[in-house]
Symmetry: D2
Subunit: 382 residues, 4 copies
């Protein structure tokens, strides 16, 4: 039953292989769903209307697979993607599951671990390139500490920079054409993770050897965990030309990483996110990095996946309605930005200008009305 | 009664004029302390052993003072500083108290407000320069939103950049020699403040017209409010050469802006902060941006100020002890960073190397022991 | 222009006098709105369609008013209420603004402060009774600490209990017929406030001398500040027969007390709150304890007040729709509770029963589908 | 090498079997430590100086063990305890790991799951009684929701009450003499857990059929996750006579469940906890519910266990020092509580008393000084 909220390929909805294959294990409980083969996951994604699938190396290829096992797995997967019309826009590397990375990967104190992390990433890049991915995400889940006694945090940053520089060279060398998207998170699984926010990576990128190749992959839950405004985070990334990818999901602030269905924790926050992406013309993947509740079987996983996309499309329609609502538009006072260019005359004019503070404080802003109308657009009563 | 924890000028301890003059007003209660004249505040700071005093324009000069009133106030204050051996290392501007700024200052939708904010800042720079300050802090307390319906966040960033560029020109033009230190905060008094974290400014600075002139002023409480690791935040700023100033205080995560005495909420977090600053050789002000509990009279304000400095010095001594504790040093495995330079041979060597994951996962790290020893250094039992 | 979301008296919408009279002062900024006389506030409330007004003693009567001033003020206010058809369902006492309460009121270390707090409350009860209020709220905004060195927390609880017991006696004695509603908050303005959550008062009440007279007044923002589920909090209060009053507003978790318009931070959380109140048949006031953004003038204050009520009514309609949505109802599996009565045969039957864990883990729950349908009811697309 | 901080049996330090046997698995990573047999865990606990070991049923007996396997395991464990002089003061039941409990145990919508949860708990009580435990902890890790659409929260509370009532009867019936200690947590692994705080259970207990048998088991991390003051939580429990057990560990507010070594996140908060327990004469277990970092091998697990106890004893010594520090004691103004008994004369006297608000606001409290001295006691410089 198709309607205006049915996903289409041009919506560019993608899911991580790890999201629909998530088996429901958590710190206090065992798996609740049987293993889902990547080939079957691709079929499921096609069935629910997704456009793309993304993956960590080990989502597809077990860490101890032989080269021939690896090749067969990749071939079968590629065929499943082709057969189902699913693309692989992004690839990434798992540098957090194996015990070897318990003290970090690129930032670990052990140089052998750092070298192994690089090698594993290079191979994951080979895999991603083979599958056609053009975005390569780096999430350093173990790059952090429980005690800052273990290393100086500035040393960790230097190590991280070196690794990224090295990997950029590898991409150039191999002509992979990757754009790297760095993903931040404040904590979990480490007590504190270095590069806690998307903004931390925006600060790091200009210090890299190949800053043009590197952007960010902000995740809703990772900013919301720290109680930060996600729309503001992606606005800064976008304005800096660095919004290479995005991870959509949901999360209540100040909690463990919940990875809920997009819009499931706070549809208002989700509305502003969708509105921003659509208003500025973001044309990358709308990637969902979330998973079904642990209460669900695979029917529930499909419900979860459908719900992510459907809520996005509902909110996209609401954002368009907001943009054409006459009462709302009459209240929106923003007049863009008009740069005040510095010069001696401009300086003197400004210093000599008399401002009426009372008048400045008296112009009606009507933000309560504007926000209430926005709420009513979101709730569908106008 | 002087001891090893008595502050000396070379410790570079400074306080905001607003901190010791804070009268205890809060959202639910009235002032509890009478007004303290800036001249008396300087005397108090000298008495407790501080080195410097910092100020917003309106901490010293009322917003509606006439030029001649202003000049007399500044002259008296300057004399009090000289008489008491107190310097003014930093100045800043109040762009948050007056109702004119209720929708922001540099990012407000009203261009007149933005212009007024620039003018007010230029005059505050004049004042700071007159008093000898070389650091100028910008904290955009009202640059934010309660509803993101009011403006697009990327527009706000453009406005902010323009303002900073303009002010850099003014400093150059006037030969003030200011280095600007940008101060982030996630929320309060606005629902969300743009540039929520120190890292957001580290991302903004490279996009400015005069990036070399601009750094950051991280505040403990502002990062802790968002539950972020402050030591990691200043490490990134330091590593980027941008730690121009620092605001020391304390705060329990996930709460209103508490501005407690340094070390009063979590002495362990304070230890790692002090240790980082001392280890890397930070030589700027150790500025305290905090205030006495509302339960206190001015004796309590002095206790508060003394306590900030004393706790810093106790923790500094502990950091030195940690650095020379043989058992601890034997556990510290960090070996700096050795850059792996990319080249075809390096690539091949790395790709062909065999890593033993089990062995990598088996090296003893002993971080529990290291952290327990650190705890015992902090608690003074070793 | 009246529609289905226009408030009516039977909706029992009330506002605190302090909410519409809020002048926009905050920790970093001055007032932005002129003083609104209580008489004018009553008119405004009538105009926007409210049913009741609630007040602290000093919202109406200045703390230093003479008896005759007090009587005139009260008479004028009563007349305004009568003239505008506004009732006063609840009264409360301000034990937080004056500097005398800087260390607490009922829990202060100074016995004179404790006595004064009791006297002030008795007089506020006199006032409330005179105005016809039947609910008396107690919020101990200053009952807490910045340092737990100042008193043992169990002593504070004893002092609090004594005060409540005393005030119950006073109500009985005066035949006021008050039911006390205790309001919790985790922090702000104190570093930590005793009785941090609604549940803390549910634990205290059974230990009082007159537990039947005492219930709770949960506030959305106060539970959300601590990241707690407000619907769960009121469910426990309701189930215990203790939901005497409620404070509706909104708040992002882990922040300063934002007191936003109801539904303005998270309409989904607001939906579950409204649904619970309506489903169980709560028939007390729907009281709004919030205030307009600081960007607003008094037109904005009216927008704010209208918005609170309108959003409640929209969500109430959505809750009714949810209750009659066939697809949703088919998914709701809850079968009430059937008490398993203990007995020797019941025990033996239970111990001997064989449970099939696999089967128990396999029943479809379809909570993702249920929640997505709920989201779509909230967003108005079904 | 024994010193004043070496644990002794009279310190009543106990550890969960699950804590030292924790293998380091987390949501993003695999196990890092091999399985530790319970018998070996008991030896390790004896070696590090613990007094007791506590356990969930399935920490010791696999969920699918046959009766004869179960009996052998229990016998071996009992012998190991006897041989090593380790007692089993507390037992509990695992109602969260198995997929059968994915929607809750006592509060699940499926009556068969509720019945199975009861049966499993009865058998865990049999086991606990056999091992000599007198405290039985109930932590409902799965009693909660991701979406409140799934059931009404008040129904969940009724189900929970029924289960506890049933289990009390079973304990009475079997003459086990158990005291039940209910353990709260706000979230994780469920989106929201019912009975989010210790106080929620203090509110529930008076509504039970056997309130005298039931108390609470507060856990530091569970209150700190919600940013609540743990000392205040245990003070209320203690004052109500309900502090039956305690779970000591550490946690940064607003994060995933970190279960750090006691005192490892905030030694100041830990100081006030220890001081309270020692000051009031709490004589139950000092139970540690934490685990070693994932970076550690079993040497690190021993370091972790030793560190928990050692930090407790250091802080206990500091609390004693605080109690005898003359300067501190001179500042402590608390004079206990003197109940003001209600009567007509008392009422009149109070109503007629004239209070000098200025004088009340002027008494010196010196809490900054008091807190700084407390900090210095904690840091060991006085």
């Amino acid at each position: 039953m198709s309607d205006q909220y049915t996903p289409r390929p041009q919506d560019k909805f993608s899911f991580g292989l790890w999201t629909v294959c998530n088996r429901g294990r958590d710190p206090f409980g065992d798996v609740v769903r049987p293993r889902l083969d990547p080939v079957d996951a691709v079929k499921m994604l096609a069935e629910v209307g997704a456009w793309g699938v993304n993956l960590h190396d080990n989502d597809l290829v077990p860490i101890d697979a032989t080269p021939s096992e690896r090749d067969k797995i990749v071939r079968d997967f590629q065929q499943a993607c082709d057969a189902n019309g699913i693309v692989v826009p992004m690839a990434t590397v798992n540098l957090f599951y194996d015990a070897a990375f318990r003290d970090g990967a690129f930032t670990a104190n052990d140089p052998d671990v750092r070298a192994y992390a690089l090698q594993k990433t290079m191979r994951a890049m080979d895999l991603g390139a083979e599958l056609g991915a053009r975005i390569f995400v780096l999430w350093g889940g173990r790059e952090g500490t429980e005690t800052d006694a273990c290393r100086r945090a500035d040393i960790a940053i230097k190590r991280l920079r070196d690794a990224i520089d090295f990997l950029c060279e590898y991409s150039i060398d191999r002509k992979y054409g990757f754009r790297f998207a760095l993903e931040a998170k404040p904590n979990e699984p480490r007590g504190d993770i270095y590069m806690a926010t998307t903004a931390a990576y925006l600060g790091l990128i200009p210090t890299l050897a190949h800053p043009v190749m590197v952007g960010v992959n902000p995740e809703v839950a990772h900013e919301h965990m720290a109680g930060l405004n996600f729309t503001h985070a992606i606005a800064q990334a976008w304005e800096a030309g660095k919004l290479f990818h995005i991870d959509l999901n949901d999360q209540v602030p100040g909690r463990y990483d919940q990875d809920f269905r997009f819009g499931a924790a706070n549809p208002r926050a989700a509305f502003f996110i969708v509105k921003f992406l659509e208003d500025v013309g973001y044309d990358g993947s709308r990637h969902f990095d979330a998973h079904a509740y642990r209460t669900e079987d695979y029917c529930g996983v499909e419900d979860f996946a459908r719900g992510c996309m459907r809520t996005y499309l509902i909110l996209k329609e609401r954002a368009a309605r907001w943009n054409t609502d006459a009462e709302i538009q009459a209240l929106v006072q923003e007049a863009g930005h008009t740069k005040m260019q510095y010069s001696a005359p401009a300086r003197e004019a400004l210093l000599n200008r008399n401002f009426d503070r009372i008048a400045l404080a008296s112009k009606e802003l009507a933000y309560e009305r504007l926000d209430q109308l926005t709420t009513e657009v979101i709730l569908g009563v106008r």
